[in-house]
Amino acid sequence: MSEETKPNEEFSHDDREPEVGDVAAPMWLMGMLIVLLWFGLMFLDRRAGGFDAKVYRPYPSLAFVEGLSVTDPPQISRGRALYMVNCAGCHQASGAGVAGQFPPLAGSDWVTAAKPDRLVRIAMNGLKGPIHVNETPFNEAGTAVMLSVGSDNKFNAEQMADILSYIRAGKEFGNGAPMVAPGDITDAMSAAEARGKSQWTEAELLAIPVD
């Protein structure tokens, strides 16, 4: 049974409403609030990822995540996509080509030349007749023809630069050659445009300087 010791406990209507005291809130409580707030803000500085949408725990900042994110430059991603659609059918997704028929692009001396001028012309206008890549002959019978892929698809300088960047600098082919900027190939592109759909031969291409 409950022991009812206080007079107020007795059931009655004589309720007094409680009074409210006047003791001032102590400074140390306010101080504690300020100190905790300060710690909290320091914590947010280190653990809130700069309030960035792409930073998740436990990464401390966007810069940290960027540093870890080993991505290809956008030209190479775009170039890969274009290559897969337009070139991989013959030159293969691995860039190895087909022996005797389609020259490889991976490890090819044509690809790793200092300037991409010959490559632009081949891609835009096409190639006919035999070609020697890394001393190896391809298309000796001269029956196969590479069509003017670039002109057919109306690639502009940017797209051309992307594909060439992928072929030359993409890690998959391992060519390790420098990327291509659209500004580097303006002359080559105009020359290719002027030529139209008439394919190049190896001899004509070798006349073009690439150093």
């Binding site: 436990p58 080993v70 290809d72 991603s77 890969r80 897969m84 059918g89 997704a93 691995s94």
Partner: protein, 302 residues
């Protein structure tokens, strides 16, 4: 503080503050996200789940699976591997440096790795400072040597095999309702489609959990199945059960999953931990080996 209006304004201010910070700002950040490039695999992630899986999510919700199972992989830290991507010209010097960096590997392994460089990992499971130090030492050799630092997320979930990387907001773009869960009486299900890709196991687990996981506290979901008389031949989807299961599936009867069970299992099988995207540093993933052109990009929904 004796005036009602002051209280009202104060409460309104406090609530709006938290509304701006916790509802509006996150909405601007993650509520309007779109699928992103899966950096190694060439498609956009996530893609909306096929129809059966969407319906399965509703079965999951209505059965209340979320009260025992979570669907979010956690990560508590990061560690690094250091790999040699190009040996360059001065291979002997490279070998010497690597021996200094990681003597425990042994000379033969290092020489072999340097000779056949194809991402030879010569230092594992170190923190960022150590990785940077190792990279510096090896890069100093020069001659076109190239190294790479491979980030690896760590955490209990990841070591349990519940996912290769932590879950991020983008993974849940097409889920309604998002079933993140807050309890793990049962294991996390983010990657269950990869961990248990066998639909039959799931049907058995739903119908009679203790037949596949002894001592499991999971209740059975008999209402997702139909017990019907066997025809001349057992139907293709009838469950094959051990006869210890309370006499079900005994002579003349077979247990067949209902449409809801099928949808639920389709949903479970669609649950896969996502690919590498910008927000989740992890080792690069390799595409499935094929010479054909890769699958076309999944159209991104708005």
């Amino acid at each position: 503080m004796n005036r009602g209006p002051l209280l009202f304004i104060g409460a309104f201010f406090a609530l709006s503050l938290s509304w701006f910070a916790m509802i509006l700002s996150p909405q601007l950040q993650i509520g309007s996200q779109n699928p992103a490039d899966a950096l190694d695999l060439g498609y956009r992630h996530p893609a909306p789940a096929p129809g059966d899986a969407q319906a399965g999510l509703q079965v999951y919700r209505s059965a209340g699976c979320v009260y025992c199972h979570s669907q979010q992989v956690q990560q508590s830290g990061i560690e690094f591997d250091v790999a040699l991507t190009k040996a360059g010209i001065f291979t002997d010097d490279v070998v010497k440096e690597i021996m200094k960096v990681n003597p425990l590997l042994g000379g033969a392994v290092i020489r072999n790795g340097v000779a056949n460089t194809n991402g030879f990992i010569f230092l594992r499971d170190v923190n960022r400072a150590e990785a940077a130090w190792a990279v510096d030492r090896v890069n100093k050799v020069g001659g076109n040597v190239e190294t790479a630092v491979i980030p690896k997320p760590t955490g209990s979930d990841i070591s349990l095999g519940w996912g290769a990387r932590r879950s991020v907001a983008r993974d849940y773009l097409y889920d309604y309702p998002v079933q993140l869960g807050s309890q793990r009486i049962g294991p996390d299900l983010t990657n269950i489609g990869n961990r248990r890709p066998d639909a039959d196991w799931h049907y058995k687990h739903l119908y009679a959990p203790r037949s596949v996981v002894p001592e499991s506290p999971m209740p059975q979901y008999g209402y997702l199945f139909e017990k019907r008389a066997k025809g001349a031949e057992p139907s293709a989807d009838a469950l094959v059960l051990e006869d210890s299961e309370a006499g079900h599936g005994d002579g003349g009867f077979e247990i067949v999953p209902t449409k809801e069970a099928r949808q639920l299992v389709a949903y479970l099988l669609s649950l896969r931990n996502g690919p590498r995207i910008f927000e989740t540093p992890m080792p690069k993933q390799s595409k499935p080996k094929t010479d054909a052109a890769p699958a076309p990009e999944v159209a991104s929904a708005q």
